[in-house]
């Protein structure tokens, strides 16, 4: 490098000490970006009102409308409630996920995105940091849902450990859909269109699943889709955890879904973020 000798010279005098190339840069920068979102939330607690109100409204509406239906076939009273609450937990996560994509899209079009792109920071940290902030929202939402549902009669037979597991499932599922929404939003690249495109499938996918009714009770054409649906996998795993049955099969099914959703759209979303005109 012929001119390289000049570069460090310029970087020298009066230059603030920049950390050398960091191996843990990804983790560090992710933490910084997550910290940014959480700080914004702390400064603007109003932004938490909707994310916390949404699950409570969903719970009230669904339990009031559907809660007293018998789940058919000589079910015990309240059995449908036990079935429905895990579905609502997952539907709530699916309905929260589009906000990740919309936030990424808003950031991508701002001067802040150019600032980030011009920094020697880790590229995936922008998405991962946002997910870190979202994880807190998902966790609070799921805990709130579980708490209120318990008051209304929902029981988790596996106790606190089971409840913690359910919150973790909601967070993991929510983040996977968040990654998908981030990629789709950046692909669509228009806030208004993205808003419509992202929310509608989030509602549809929850209905074509075992979230609100057992797959066997769905319309015939829906059943294959419902069986092959991450919402079904997540809702089934939560039901298994709440009831205390063997969880290995739904666990691996959901794990596969999450791995696919995070890996493919995740890489595409990061590349999309980095690519600018």
């Amino acid at each position: 490098m012929t001119a390289a000798g000049t570069a460090p010279a310029g970087a020298g005098a009066g230059h603030a000490a920049v950390l050398p190339h960091l191996r843990y840069r990804l983790v560090r920068d992710t933490g910084l970006i997550a910290g940014r979102y959480l700080r914004v939330l702390r400064r603007n607690p109003g932004r938490l009102i909707y994310p916390l109100l949404q699950p409570l409204v969903l719970l009230t509406l669904f339990l009031s409308v559907f809660g007293n239906l018998a789940a058919g076939r000589n079910a015990a009273p309240g059995a449908y409630r036990e079935f429905l609450v895990p579905g609502i937990i997952i539907q709530n996560a699916a309905l929260t996920a589009p906000t990740t994509g919309l936030a990424m899209l808003r950031d991508a079009g701002s001067g802040l995105a150019d600032r980030f792109r011009s920094l020697p920071m880790s590229r995936p940290a922008v998405l991962l940091g946002r997910l870190g902030g979202d994880a807190v929202i998902y966790a609070v939402q799921a805990a709130l849902l579980l708490g209120v549902a318990t008051v209304l009669g929902f029981t988790v037979r596996t106790g606190l450990a089971g409840a913690a597991g359910i919150v973790n499932i909601a967070v993991a599922f929510g983040l996977a859909i968040s990654v998908l929404s981030a990629w789709l939003a950046l692909l669509i690249n228009d806030a208004e269109t993205a808003e419509r495109v992202l929310f509608f499938p989030a509602i549809a996918i929850a209905f074509v699943s075992s979230a609100f009714a057992p797959v066997a009770d769905l319309a015939g054409w829906m059943r294959p889709v419902a069986r092959f649906n991450p919402v079904s996998a997540a809702a089934d795993l939560i039901r298994t955890l709440a009831a205390g049955g063997p969880a290995a099969r739904p666990f691996w099914l959901l794990a596969c879904w999450i791995a696919v959703l995070v890996a493919v759209p995740g890489v595409l979303a990061v590349r999309r973020w980095q690519a600018s005109p």
Binding site: G5, T6, A11, G12, A13, A17, R39, L112, P120, M121
Partner: protein, 356 residues
Amino acid sequence: MLNSSAAGSPLAVDASGVAKSFGSVTALSGIDLAVPAGTLAALLGPNGAGKTTLVRIVATLTRPDRGRVRVLGFDVAAQPGEVRRRIGLTGQFAGLDDALSGTENLVLIGRLAGLRRREARARASQVAELVAMASAAGRSVRTYSGGMRRRLDLAASLMTSPPLLVLDEPTTGLDPASRQQLWQALAGLRAAGTTMLLTTQYLEEADRFADQVHVLDRGAIIASGTPAQLKSLVGGQVVEIALADPGAGQSAAGYPAANCLAAGYPAPDGLALDAEAVARALAGRLDLPPGSVRAESSARRLTVLTRTGTDGDAGVLLDVAAALRADGVPVADLALRQPSLDEAFLALTGRPEVAA
């Protein structure tokens, strides 16, 4: 620092043959650009000339289709990380999070640039001081005026004291006082040896502050040089005419009113002299193309851009004076000067700088 190297004059930015298209639109068509370290280079041109595309390529935000760009010795395509460690970018839109305070923005950006927490905090208060934002740094950016935003954005680019600062229209949309404050900060940085590459639509800014001006038009650099060199490209000299107020009395008294009327502009007893009409008549008398004589917006001043006449040649001044006297135009002041960058731009592109 960089500008005094044994290698002579090392280049902070060294670009050759840079081309970039967006679909069917050619943004840049083979640009060569050299910015010596320690200097301030201004990219001057109308909207859509390619200025922003060029600085985005230098700042590693956009990849060129063709050509090679080295920034402080590092290739922007092959070593973008090394380039990013050495540049500060102030984009056209402030790269700040509105929901955070000024200090929080500075610390976040500093840490993402690689500073440790303690250093980032110390540096944040230094740079806030530097751009006269120390007292407002604790407030949410949402409450800032446009000028404050710009200054904090500049401060954010300075967190790591980068040897090269890239600024895309740093003063666009600012009121004169804010522009002044921003330029004060930039002048201080240049004095400290920071190389700067900036775009501007303001000719007088390029004229006052730039070491080198590169005039972009339709994706190509059509002229490069110091402001003085660019002005000399215009070739001629400028005669400035200040029209006298004909109603004021004695200054107009000596001129034959009949000539003035014959030439088609109001007689000296009218308060307003039609400067446009004077300009047209003057161009005719001096046998110059119509665009060479322009009436300023004040309507009391005219400029005559001559193609002939060399530096220090007062002959053209006498020609203008004779033509004015022949038409009986009352003149308060007559002066010969070098063309402004504004006029140079007009001469280079064939149209005023505001035309897109």
